[in-house]
């Protein structure tokens, strides 16, 4: 628990007052029309939606996620967070096309791109999906705030979720997107400031840049290991061998014990021991430093295996045995020797082997960059779509998306430098739940009195910017795509704003339910939602933009097939031993192929969209890609100049 002083509380009170002020000040603008409540009247200069993109995608769980991958994989871990790079291409392709469509939401765009019953089904489906997703996202960022408040104040998990999500709801209910985007701007500034301050403090606490590099060069080698549950009450050994020759480099001279349980105190001493030994210079090549015969480990727990660094080897395999070395099971393959590899962005462990294979990197680059040709290839597209439409021109929309995402990527790098500093201070942490809190620990352990309160105000800014966006975005889909389009098409502007407010309130309540359901399992849910649930529709999301022949039935079938296939490939089939547990990049490609086997026949066996509908869409949006027949028809009708 952390104790706040007067100055710390002052920062927090000032920040909360500022947020409430935004709600009151922009109340009048938000209530003017549906366009004001959800798009700030489509009149924003590029830097306002840009700051909103950046602030929205800086949530309380983001430093947890970035710290987790950078602590484990070094700077190469930043490629895990590179998915925002879809904006490198999107800013000049799908952003431009979407802004020209003028659709309020991605669901509405479906009914402009496709026609007839298929389009209406898609619009309804996407609207429902987005209301659910926004509630779900609110739940997981809310519970991440709950975890933080538990760490800082010792509160119950639900208290942080309830208090601070409600605070965000106050100004969203009052002023809609105007409040969101204006608050996002100042929240973005505060968040960036505190990220830079804490990260500088982290680097300094680790001894400064030169010291960090020197220490990584001198530290012993280490790798994470989860002791198998079935190894309890046995004696085990560790072996480290050279990848090239297969020759053992280090091996336990005597075995160590694995117990079914050990005390918490003993557990914490083991972690400290691993940390000390990674830092130790009094070692000799060929030694396994941890665990040794004096250590007793617990089955099912995670530990850091430590061995003396030896410059004669680059990459090693690490194995463990419980039958005195007769048979070995693999702990890690193609792992780097020493710790300097953590500063290398391209520390590949092989083409397909180890924790950072080239195949994974290539997959991530394709997903991140090529996804920019499509709409909805990333979960972040949906809030971005709202920001694109709130920009006053096509040019402003393009620059806002490019600059907002550039800031997100730069922010990740600033965090990463601090996490490398944290690793130098605490290199022996094996439990992901502990090292994922690295950036917050730097802030709360090393910042002086007064600045700790500013850090918490920054955390509030990070949290509120995300919460407010998803409250307003979920309400947009509920109001525009459900209520207005299907329930009451003749609704007045005042009525639509009123329904927007009611939808915001319902989303708030729903988020509490989801937050409590998600509880402590944030990371597992996050990976499933961000990565796997989107894999099968990644290519259809591009095809709908670049290929005229792709129709609503093909797209709808891709969505339905993906929902079933992703559960099968990721969880159900591996669980029953039908297929092995596959690496995530392989799951992605399998889902791409399996889905294509469903939506491509559906597309070709169903009729193309009505040509007049496609021509109207083409003339308005001018999409990129394979639109030859539609363009010819548009030229024939004299709607665009002949080339």
């Amino acid at each position: 628990m952390i104790t706040f002083q007067f100055l710390d509380w002052l920062w927090i009170v000032l920040f909360v007052a500022l947020m409430i002020f935004f709600g009151i000040y922009f109340y009048r603008m938000g209530k003017r029309s549906q366009s004001d409540f959800f798009l700030a009247g489509r009149g924003l200069p590029w830097w306002l939606p840009a700051s909103s993109v950046y602030a929205t995608h800086t949530a309380t769980d983001t430093p947890i996620w970035v710290a987790g991958v950078v602590y484990k994989y070094g700077f190469a871990g930043l490629w895990y967070a590179f998915f925002s790079a879809w904006c490198a291409i999107s800013a000049f392709v799908s952003t431009r096309i979407f802004r020209r469509s003028l659709a309020y939401s991605q669901a509405e765009w479906q009914s402009l791109r496709f026609g007839g019953l298929g389009a209406e089904l898609l619009r309804g489906w996407l609207a429902g999906w987005q209301v659910f997703m926004n509630m779900f996202i609110l739940g997981w960022v809310g519970i991440a705030m709950g975890k933080l408040c538990q760490m800082i104040f010792g509160w119950e998990l639900w208290m942080g979720l309830f208090i601070f999500t409600t605070l965000g709801a106050i100004y969203v209910l009052s002023s809609g997107y105007w409040g969101v985007v204006m608050a996002d701007f100042q929240q973005g500034v505060i968040a960036l400031l505190i990220i830079v301050i804490v990260s500088i403090w982290g680097v300094v606490a680790a001894g400064g840049p030169d010291e960090i590099i020197a220490k990584l060069g001198s530290y012993n080698s280490s790798v994470e290991w989860e002791v198998p549950n079935e190894w309890k009450d046995q004696q085990a050994m560790i072996r480290v061998s050279d990848v090239e020759t297969g020759k053992p480099i280090a091996i336990n001279s005597e075995s160590f014990a694995i117990a079914s349980s050990i005390s918490k105190d003993a557990q914490s001493k083991l972690e400290s021991r691993a940390t000390t030994l990674i830092k130790s210079k009094e070692t000799h090549a060929g030694e396994i430093l941890f665990p040794t015969n004096v250590n007793k480990l617990q089955a099912g727990e995670k530990y850091t295996i430590v061995w003396a660094s030896d410059d004669s080897y680059n990459r090693v395999n690490i194995d463990a045995s419980v039958d005195s070395g007769i048979s070995w099971s693999r702990v890690a393959s193609h792992h780097f020797n020493g710790q300097s590899w953590r500063l290398n962005f391209f520390s590949f462990t092989g083409m397909f082997e180890g924790q950072f294979p080239v195949a994974w990197f290539v997959t991530m680059m394709i997903i991140a960059l090529i996804g920019g040709f499509g709409m909805g290839t990333s979960i972040d597209w949906y809030p971005e779509a709202q920001r694109i439409q709130s920009a006053k021109t096509v040019r402003d929309a393009s620059y806002s998306i490019w600059a907002g995402s550039a800031l997100v990527l730069i922010r990740n790098s600033i965090w990463a430098a601090a996490i490398i500093g944290f690793f130098v201070l605490y290199p022996g942490i094996a439990k992901s739940g502990e090292y994922e809190m690295a950036w917050y620990r730097i802030g709360f352990e090393f910042l002086p009195v007064g600045l700790v309160g500013f850090l918490f105000a920054g955390i509030l800014a990070i949290h509120l910017s995300t919460v407010s966006t998803h409250l307003n975005l979920g309400a947009l889909y509920a109001t525009r795509d459900f209520y207005h389009h299907y329930v009451n098409p003749k609704a007045s502007e005042a009525m639509l704003v009123k329904v927007g407010r009611i939808a915001t309130f319902v989303l708030l309540l729903g988020s509490f339910v989801f937050g409590v359901i998600i509880g402590e399992e944030i990371t597992a849910w996050l990976i499933f939602a961000l990565w796997i649930m989107a894999a099968g529709v990644w290519l259809p999301n591009i095809l709908q933009v670049i290929w005229w022949r792709f129709n609503s039935w093909g797209y709808l079938s891709a969505w339905i097939a993906n929902l079933g296939l992703s559960w099968l490939i990721v969880w159900i089939l591996p669980r029953f031993g039908v297929i092995p547990a596959l690496p995530d990049y392989l799951q992605f490609w399998i889902l791409i192929v399996l889905n294509a086997m469903i939506y491509l026949p559906v597309t070709f066996f169903s009729k193309p969209e009505d040509m007049d509908h496609l021509v109207a869409y083409y003339v308005m949006s001018r999409p990129i890609g394979f639109w030859g027949p539609v363009r010819k028809e548009a030229e024939k009708q004299g709607l665009i100049a002949t080339t």
């Binding site: 700077f75 790079a85 509405e108 393009s398 995402s405 790098s413 525009r480 003749k490």
Partner: protein, 98 residues
């Protein structure tokens, strides 16, 4: 005519040209180098400053290439936007057949 086109007619600006592809390439280079350059510069590693500079210059070139085209597209499109918005609301309220 120079390799990079700086003057656009409204009809041409609406189509896709090599300038769009060049902007995409420089945008991608910029993102990758900003990620690497910022992290390494934060640890005052010399190559980090060089990579960061490449990222900033790439962003500048990207804007120099694409800005005239984006300006033209925006100016032309704003003239038609009012009509398009009216059509959009008609579809939303089921007042026209889509």
């Amino acid at each position: 005519m120079s390799f990079i086109r700086r003057e656009w007619t409204s009809a041409d600006a609406d189509d896709w040209h090599k300038e769009d592809w060049l902007a995409i390439i420089f945008s991608t280079i910029s993102y990758i180098t900003l990620v690497i350059g910022t992290a390494l510069s934060f640890l005052t590693i010399t190559i980090g400053f060089v990579v960061l500079a490449i990222g900033i210059v790439s962003a500048g070139i990207m804007m120099w290439i694409i800005d005239p085209k984006l300006k033209k597209i925006s100016n032309e499109y704003e003239k038609k936007q009012k009509d398009y918005l009216r059509q959009l609301e008609d579809i939303q309220r089921w007042e026209v057949e889509k």
